[in-house]
Symmetry: C2
């Protein structure tokens, strides 16, 4: 049985949402969950939610990382935080993977330093899955702020993102694209032109450059870019979806039929907003670390936490890290030859 260490203190509704998610996961998926956090608080919530008989254990951690902690502060000054303890459980082999819906920057830093990076990986990348018009998810990476990336790092993102897509969404030959400003190969900037040349030489199903407007169209499964671009792409989308309701309201103020329509469609809208949240697809894995780490959205509810556990367990079971190391070593060997 796969064991997942879950940071019980991470999200905006912790530990309630985390305990809910742990219970759902323990019931529906073949996993054991280690709830990591202030023991008394977690046990109280567990008792309230009736988790008896399920494969859920509690591991104590005396500190909590908040949204206000900087990544380096969280890493250096809170050595007994629930994020640290969860990462250490993975490092020691007591857990196969970890999940946290806490402070993204802090979780990334702690996971990177405590778990370490796979030998073949230059920089771990955060991969977000989002919905498309075709109903299939698209995975965008890096969204974890790896800025000023080198072409070789973008190539590694492509290999890791494709393995994640295959492992979790079951597509045999996911289409991989490079985010740029025109479809022609020569369009783009220095980085994309060099990265495109490298990715072309891999065995990936590389379809070349894709544009911003292709992201949600469902014409591509995995999109790679520098972390600065990926972060902005993700945040702009979140902001637009966040404001779409308000902007739409303004647009329809004057018409009675539309007003009525808005009221009727309102809950569907809220659903839609949740769907566009990457939490829907189980949070974002930090690919390239030794071990499995999945970061959920701060607003995760119990279902989103369960999905994040599902993704973490799926990555463990499919031995994604072994595949990453094998394929990146092959890429490096081919590069040395070529």
């Amino acid at each position: 049985m796969t064991t997942i260490a879950l940071d019980a203190m991470g999200g905006d509704s912790a530990p309630r949402a985390e305990v809910e998610g742990a219970i759902l996961a323990a019931r529906e998926l073949d996993v054991r969950v280690l709830l990591v956090g202030i023991e008394a608080t977690v046990r109280q919530e567990l008792a309230r939610q009736k988790a008896r008989g399920l494969p859920i254990d509690v591991v104590n951690a005396t500190e909590v990382v908040t949204m206000k902690d900087s990544p380096s502060q969280a890493f250096r000054r809170k050595k007994d935080s629930s994020v640290h303890v969860a990462a250490k459980l993975v490092r020691s082999g007591q857990a196969d993977g970890m999940v946290s819906a806490g402070n993204t920057g802090a979780v990334m830093t702690i996971a990177r330093f405590i778990l370490g990076t796979l030998p073949s990986v230059d920089r771990p990348a955060l991969a977000a899955a989002m919905p498309t018009a075709k109903g299939t998810p698209v995975v965008l990476l890096d969204v974890g702020a790896n800025v000023d990336s080198k072409p070789e790092q973008i190539e590694q993102f492509a290999v890791m993102g494709e393995i994640y897509y295959r492992a979790i969404f079951g597509t045999k030959r996911p289409r991989v694209g490079l985010l740029s400003i025109g479809e022609e190969e020569m369009k783009g900037n220095e980085l994309t032109r060099e990265a495109s040349n490298l990715i072309k030489q891999t065995s990936l199903n590389f379809i070349g450059n894709v544009e911003g407007r292709d992201v949600y169209a469902g014409v591509v499964d995995v999109i790679v870019c520098d972390g600065f671009i990926g972060n902005i792409a993700l945040k702009i989308s979140e902001g637009l979806v966040e404001h779409v309701g308000g902007m739409l309201k303004k647009a329809i103020k004057s018409r009675l039929s539309s007003q009525l329509g808005y009221v009727l469609a309102k809950s569907a809208f809220d659903d839609f907003r949740k769907k566009t949240d990457y939490a829907e697809y189980g949070g974002a894995p930090l690919l390239g670390v030794r071990g499995t780490a999945v970061i959920g959205h701060g607003r995760s509810n119990g279902n989103a936490i369960k999905n994040a556990i599902r993704v973490a367990a799926g990555l463990c079971r499919s031995k994604a890290n072994e595949t990453i190391d094998r394929e990146l070593s092959a890429v490096a060997a081919a590069g040395a030859k070529g």
Copy 2:
């Protein structure tokens, strides 16, 4: 009276939308319009739409730039295109400014080469105005594919964008932000950190870094970034808005009340989609060229064309280029001193 040379062959519905826009502009704004294009075609459309007595003239151009022409092909091989002729009318002083809803890359290239760049400007920048949740527009630049920008160029974008905002939207001290991945000054990449240092030293109302999620929030009036980022930001937004309808439809399929709501709200949705189009605010000026050039969206209707003419005339009347040259010279002088 301000004279605007309008490319009559540019947009997807040319010359119908262009003639409509010219008529609306000639009626409502204090402008004279020179419709530039295949003379017989334009005159036929003018006759059909009853433009008699309005300050509209036709200037012949024997060639048409299509969406398939590359910018360099359009510039070098179609010397008598309507875009070329419009730009030459501005260069010779027969028109104060030009407007085209044609192939954006081709119009930018032709305008840059025929009009030339202002002495103080390194690279002209395309500035797109978009709606925000607060109802005020936000101007994003560069969206015209100035890739691999230098910090000094980002600083120039800030100065030019602010002058455009003041001239067209009438705000006295527009708030200027730098698109980055965190609000703290040290967040970002090499380019944003250096650009931030430069912009801080200008007299602009610089509020520092803004994140992707701030773009549509209305917390800032002018946002500057490298053209690669700006293009992706704009295209992702267009793509998301384009697909929002379809994605929403999927989300609400199962509920009758939401379905009904969707039908009722449908036309409001379509309105909303138009509103998020930058054509609504009068297209995107190419700032920094000698003369005034405004590029409309290919899908511009008559009203969008009229708005683009309004923006072009407004930039001419406010002598935006003189202000740009004066303020950029001051920035350069301060830089040389500092």
